[in-house]
């Protein structure tokens, strides 16, 4: 029903188009339009008439990084509690209706947003909007519902994190990377704080963030802007502007001065692995163009089987079973730019780390080539073809962008932003951010003897 997603945002969610001359770079989701209701709800419509279905999503600008000290997990907890019913619709009714019309629904919480969505045949859109608008303002919670659902989230944490050494290492790496902001705290929360979350905490969160003027409605599929506007006005339009949400502060990180390592040792681990993450700007927190340059960099060094890391470590040197890079570009505050490597059966973590270090050193010293940048642009932009094929993928990409610091116009211009990246910009970003003092290296090992240090 619900999921806690640390969304690898924009690029991984977006994927884009064939590169052509600058003037011809097509827009992303070019049919999308937006308007705002009187109560402040922003509405985005993405018409796609190829099939008589719609994706209906509501995104709240509230995520785990908005939590206050001591209440970790409340953003995700409220996501669960949003399924507890309202005064007009008791618990389970909404979900039952979705199922009865052959639709499906989901919800997720990230560090920056909480979103709810349903995919249904177009004739059921009005019903979805009525239910979703209803729970935006009329959620009913009591001690019993909170107590029951708290067990659910604790069990969720227990099965997803506490029994998974990889997830535990991920939490420890984040905690070490972020020295100041709430991004260092797990999206799902720390178990000891989750166990203390109560009805007051839940209502306080709901009454701090769940208001139309803090939400974005996305409808994608077989609809027109006018149809959505009419339906929205008689559903969401009836929800009063409940309050003004607090500013979305993302505590800025201090300049990192010391390289860090984190070693998680657990007998369950049969396959050691390592990761190296650097504190880097996101699209929202960086200078114009930096996010796009880092996207290109990530693609060149570690995107798929054509990347430097894959070719050199997995194919040529044959020391790694897997190796790559990733860039979490879509956070409001500073992001992670990372590398990972898994040694082959007869290899060691130290060997794989040394090879990744050598690739990073070469990147910083010699930079990337025009051909590499052109190829990366082609691959990134080509991927939008697939995104344009899926109304729900477009909805997801735009929802994420619009709740994480972008305007619709900026999101639509993403292909041009990527196309404008220069070799110099990529090399400057690599030199600026791939400094060891900005990094945390995580090791996952079965026992301490496998640790590289």
């Amino acid at each position: 029903m619900t999921s806690t997603a640390r969304l690898f945002a924009f690029v991984l969610a977006v994927p884009l188009m064939l590169s052509v001359a600058a003037a011809e770079v097509p827009k992303f989701a070019k049919n999308a339009t937006s308007f705002t209701l009187g109560n402040g709800l922003e509405v985005v419509v993405i018409p796609d008439h190829r099939a008589p279905i719609v994706t209906h999503m509501v995104w709240y600008k509230a995520g785990a990084a908005d939590e206050r000290p001591g209440e970790s997990g409340i953003a995700h907890f409220l996501e669960h509690l949003m399924f507890k019913g309202t005064k007009d619709h008791p618990e389970g009714e909404f979900s039952k209706v979705v199922t009865s019309v052959g639709g499906n629904e989901n919800a997720f919480t990230s560090d920056d947003v909480t979103a709810y969505h349903q995919d249904v045949a177009k004739q059921h859109l009005a019903t979805m909007m009525a239910f979703e608008a209803d729970r935006m303002a009329n959620l009913v919670l009591d001690e019993a519902a909170v107590a029951t659902e708290r067990e659910v989230i604790l069990e969720e944490r227990s099965s997803r994190i506490d029994s998974d050494p990889r997830a535990q290492l991920g939490e420890a790496v984040r905690a070490a990377l972020y020295q100041n902001s709430r991004y260092g705290i797990p999206t799902i929360g720390w178990a000891h704080e989750m166990a203390e979350l109560d009805l007051d905490d839940a209502l306080s969160w709901y009454n701090r963030y769940y208001t139309p003027n803090n939400a974005v409605l996305i409808v994608a599929g077989d609809v027109t802007e006018e149809e959505v506007r009419s339906l929205a006005e008689v559903t969401y339009g009836e929800v009063r502007r409940r309050f003004d949400p607090p500013p979305r502060d993302r505590a800025e990180e201090p300049e990192p001065l010391a390289a860090r390592t984190v070693t998680l040792s657990d007998p369950q681990v049969t396959q050691p692995s390592m990761q190296r993450v650097y504190l880097a700007p996101s699209y929202a927190s960086g200078e114009p163009g930096e996010g796009a340059a880092l996207d290109i960099l990530s693609e060149i060094v570690g995107g798929g089987t054509i990347s430097r890391l894959y070719r050199n470590l997995v194919v040529d040197q044959a020391i790694a079973a897997a190796a790559g890079a990733f860039y979490q570009s879509g956070t409001l505050g500073d992001a992670m730019f990372g590398f990972y490597g898994v040694p082959r059966d007869d290899g060691t973590l130290a060997e794989v780390e040394a090879a990744i270090d050598a690739e990073i050193a070469a990147l910083v010293a010699n930079g990337v080539t025009e051909a590499e940048v052109a190829g990366a642009k082609r691959r990134l932009l080509a991927a939008t073809i697939y995104a344009e094929d899926s109304a729900s993928a477009l909805a997801r990409s735009l929802g994420m962008a619009l709740t994480s610091g972008s305007t619709l116009a900026e999101a639509q211009a993403w292909p041009a932003t990527i196309d404008a990246v220069t070799v110099d910009a990529v090399n400057a970003a690599a030199r600026k951010y791939l400094e060891i003092r900005r990094s945390v290296t995580g090791y996952l090992v079965g026992d301490a003897s496998q640790s590289p240090s």
Copy 2:
């Protein structure tokens, strides 16, 4: 004038008495008594008539760990701003009076408290109390004062932290150790947040914590309880209870799962060194007796030249120029239990770390002896003799204790608490807390080649 102290609290500040049979263990500061004024100000008097002088201290239960996200440094900033004058006494008048009567004054901020004190001849006590009570409620601040003093704290940070690799490593180690609480953020603040602190932030802090019902007054020296009571009633007693301070939340740390390292490399470093800190309970956050057991453990393993670490690493193996242990026992939330080592000119960090690891492993495997525990108690308790000799040392110890979770009776019973520690309690604490997954190891090196890993 002012100082940001990360106080190594209780034991390092307290120091105590000769061990004798349990029933005969003397109280610490046994002459100290306390009472509370009608406005909630707690008053502690420590009579000591050997010299006609007094120490006058006001402690506020407000420190850097009480700061909200984004306002790091405000506790210490307000400490500076408390010298800016009131409507009756312009800036500088109070300090001028202290100096003119041959006294001296100081102030400091820690993670848990902010304190102001003066040492003067006894006949000037009433004047000190009048001035100090006045600025508890009547501080006058303006934009100009805030702007000027902000430059001072930024310069203080710049000279104390940003130009000192040891201090930089200390900040990075704390940031890595504390995954949830504000103890991971520097007491003095992050520079980028200090630069944004303004008049509103300062007044908001002052109006959140500076009220008699959130303070402890300590007067030590040539006075009686009755004299202090009379003087307090006509000075501090006139300050109205301004508001109720917020609860002192110390976000609990999650159970640490992954060993961490932090490496600070700086060409200024001519002498590499390493430290290993474990997350451990303080007196306030631990189970009864745990803090005392850790104090004994710290003394046995690393307290001075008779300790295991000094004897083995510095004297016998002759690989270290310095080695020892420390325990920050006096925090409200969880504390640090730590080890440090400095290699000799021809030694390496790896060698020193391996030797410290071996000492810790031996401690956990074999425990300490009755003789070691008895000796540590003797040394800790003997040190109180010196503390009893100094009224201002007693004032400082009691002020720290009473603003960090202890009652006066508990603080006075500290010698008995230490005397009651058993070998089993010390061994249990060592086994429970000296686990590598609870730790951060910090390396200070001149260049990366000196790093042990």
